[in-house]
């Protein structure tokens, strides 16, 4: 009996709490209304380091630039979502996001494989998405008016990689591994196509979802003895692969795309990755003069260095706030369509350089880098040397598709 009574009390409390919540939020939303900006990135799991950086970068930007909107009487909030780097979770979150009428912009995602299906959902209601990190060409090549990105594209990044392997590393042969996601396989295929064009010998092209035991992939790779090994994927998978490859005596040089760009790479792989090269569509703060102040502020506020793409998320969120501001001129909460149109027209002298979008939502001039890992100490990830820096215009809309 006593047990039943306890349940009854608990149930009552739950009902009361549920009833009280909307009241509380109604009270808070005095004035002209609430404007919310969502982030979607992996906040848990193996890629949380980068995902957390995206969230915090956006948070900092919103706090800094929301003043004008608040003066007009709006309340501006950030709502972070955890997409767990999984397409199904991203889509489920996206459905919740479009159901919340207050959300006027999404900053995200980290993974192209998550961004592509999720943006289909945003498109239903013309909700604007500004991606800080999705480099797969498909993201913008669909020509959706609500999808934009402030980073570069993999059809350029893959070529930057193969050019570097051919021109600077002087590799004659290459072995390519990818993670079977749209991002990893995509960039690996662009790398492969251009490498073949340049006369590099592609000794192998393997996809794997394996996270721990890479022996069966390493053994045939080692026997073929490639000059360079390219991993199209993300650090949480690439790091153990590189570590095991070195431990098994593989001598080829390592190369990868921007998925390698996290201090966790050295945390996991240690000495094995010192000296390896990676291309990036997001430069380290040291390469961007304006980003230095951002780095310092980020560190002061959150007690850690900004991970790659935090600065891009900062710029993306600033664009979102400014666009909402422009669309809210009439003094009312703007419609999602108006915000999307305003974002496409936005011009920003951001901390990652000048940002303008072309007709597809690609950044008109994106930055690409080749970097070299400097130390096996994860705290010194920021010391990685820039070996090459390029500014390349996005390929024209007709180039693909």
């Amino acid at each position: 009996m006593i047990r039943h009574r306890v349940y009854l009390v608990l149930a009552l409390v739950a009902v009361l709490a549920a009833a009280l919540v909307p009241v509380a939020s109604d009270l808070a939303a005095q004035g002209k209304g609430t404007i919310k900006i969502a982030t979607q990135s992996p906040l848990s799991g193996g890629q949380a380091a980068l995902g957390e950086g995206i969230k915090l970068g956006a948070q900092l930007a919103i706090e800094k630039s929301k003043g004008a909107l608040e003066k007009q009487g709006f309340k501006v909030d950030l709502v972070p979502f955890d997409d767990q780097a999984k397409p199904d979770v991203g889509v489920a979150n996206a459905k919740n996001i479009i159901a919340d009428k207050d959300i006027l912009a999404v900053i995200g995602h980290l993974n192209s494989g998550v961004a592509i299906p999720s943006s289909e959902v945003y498109k239903e209601v013309s909700l604007v998405m500004i991606s800080p990190a999705n480099t797969n060409p498909v993201v913008t090549d669909r020509g959706y008016p609500n999808v934009n990105r402030v980073c570069g594209r993999d059809d350029v990044q893959g070529v930057v990689g193969s050019e570097f392997a051919h021109g600077t590393m002087k590799s004659k042969s290459v072995y390519i591994i990818h993670d079977k996601t749209p991002y990893g396989q995509g960039v690996a295929e662009f790398f492969k196509a251009d490498a073949e064009k340049k006369g590099l010998k592609v000794l192998g092209f393997e996809g794997t979802e394996e996270k721990s035991n890479f022996d069966p992939i390493i053994t045939p790779m080692k026997a073929k003895n490639p000059d360079a090994i390219y991993f199209g994927g993300i650090y949480d998978q690439a790091a153990p692969f590189f570590k095991q490859a070195r431990e098994k005596g593989v001598k080829g040089k390592f190369l990868g795309p921007d998925g390698m760009d996290s201090s966790d790479l050295t945390k996991i792989a240690g000495k094995a990755v010192v000296g390896m090269y990676y291309t990036s569509a997001a430069g380290p703060a040291s390469a961007l003069p304006k980003a230095k102040a951002f780095s310092e502020e980020f560190k002061k506020k959150f007690g850690k260095n900004p991970e790659p793409y935090a600065a891009e998320a900062y710029d993306a969120a600033t664009i979102a706030v400014k666009a909402i501001e422009a669309a809210a001129k009439s003094g009312k909460v703007p419609s999602r369509e108006d915000v999307a149109t305003a974002v496409r027209k936005a011009k920003l002298a951001g901390i990652t350089g000048d940002i303008e979008f072309d007709a597809k939502g690609d950044r008109k001039k994106a930055l690409y880098f080749v970097l070299q890992v400097a130390s096996d100490d994860p705290a010194k990830w920021g010391d990685n040397k820039i070996v090459k820096q390029l500014t390349i215009a996005a390929p024209a809309a007709a180039a693909k598709k």
Partner: protein, 323 residues
């Protein structure tokens, strides 16, 4: 097709396959022993296995921060870590049995199965919660012991690392120990008696509940040892790392004949070798048309074939029919 290359890598693939196979065998023992006694599949065993790996890495990181990791001779460190992993997993398995399975002992067969799946999810996220609060990390890296990373380059394509020798040696030792316990001791006899017929065993004065707990303890400890060896061999673990090896080990147990201890060992080795050969040779043999990613398809097709012709597994005859 490069025949010299195909032959050249053969010994290395064989070694990789044996290492993996012994690991599967150790995990498979946990499934098979519990099935032998209770006739139910303990799906939480994959988490019990990975908890062993986590206990191991915590002990190693603890030793490292105490500065003892390089001070102590490596076999001492290894034995210490193995024992800790085995104790952690063993006691966890006993607790899980006490909390989640014993109250359901007389329930219909599906109920404890669901309970096991629930425990599996619960443990995964408990580890994740604990590690994120304690170390703020998702992936944990096993500290490297330099002595274990020594390699002997026997030929151009064959390297034998001390690590894989240690894994194989430790696994063999564990299997021998288990064999002795089950077949040469009084408790072993009692466990086998409970597996044969619980009611009759209890009439003979055997404490059935204690024997079941003991079965979980031994199976869990084997899983924990496998967890530590997995961490040492592959270097990186996360809270979800246990799932796939657990599934494979379960397959190995079925392949060898579930409920049958030597069967689990044979099944583990067969599956490990199949997987290693499939992954290394598929793309070489098909000119890249089928890559390493097809290894599981090949391994599981073999499983289906074996089960069509030998429904009770490779060593299935030993499984007693239940009255």
């Amino acid at each position: 097709m490069d025949v010299a290359l195909l032959i050249g890598i053969f010994p290395q693939v064989l070694l990789d396959g044996i290492t993996l196979g012994f690991m599967y065998a150790l995990i498979a023992l946990g499934y098979t022993m519990v099935y032998g006694v209770l006739e139910f599949i303990n799906f939480a065993h994959s988490e019990i296995f990975i908890v062993g790996a986590f206990v191991g890495v915590e002990v190693m990181l603890g030793l490292k921060s105490a500065g003892l990791l390089d001070g102590l001779p490596w076999p001492v460190v290894l034995v210490l870590v193995l024992l800790a992993g085995m104790a952690g997993s063993g006691f966890l398995a006993v607790t899980v049995e006490r909390v989640a399975y014993r109250p359901l002992r007389n329930a219909p067969r599906l109920i404890p199965l669901i309970s096991a799946i629930g425990i599996s999810f619960f443990l995964q996220d408990m580890i994740r919660l604990f590690e994120s609060l304690w170390r703020n990390a998702f992936n944990l890296v096993y500290p490297t012991l330099d002595a274990l990373n020594l390699r002997f380059e026997l030929t151009e394509t064959l390297d034998v690392s001390v690590k894989s020798l240690v894994v194989i040696g430790a696994a063999l030792g564990m299997l021998w120990l288990l064999h002795m316990i089950v077949n040469r001791t009084k408790v072993g006899t009692a466990i086998r008696a409970v597996a044969e017929d619980q009611a009759a065993a209890s009439l003979m004065g055997i404490d059935v509940n204690r024997m079941i707990s003991l079965t979980f303890l031994i199976g869990g400890a084997m899983g924990g040892a496998a967890g530590v060896l997995f961490g040492v061999q592959y270097g990186l673990i996360n809270p979800y790392s246990g799932f796939i090896p657990g599934l494979k080990a379960f397959t190995a147990a079925v392949l060898g004949g579930i409920g049958n201890i030597p069967g689990a060992m044979v099944g583990g080795l067969v599956l490990g070798l199949l997987e290693a050969f499939a992954a290394s040779y598929l793309s070489l043999l098909t000119g890249g048309a089928f890559g390493a990613e097809y290894k599981d398809i090949l391994a599981f097709s073999m499983l289906i074939l074996i089960l069509i012709f030998r429904p009770k597994g490779l060593l299935g005859e030993v499984v007693r029919e239940r009255a």
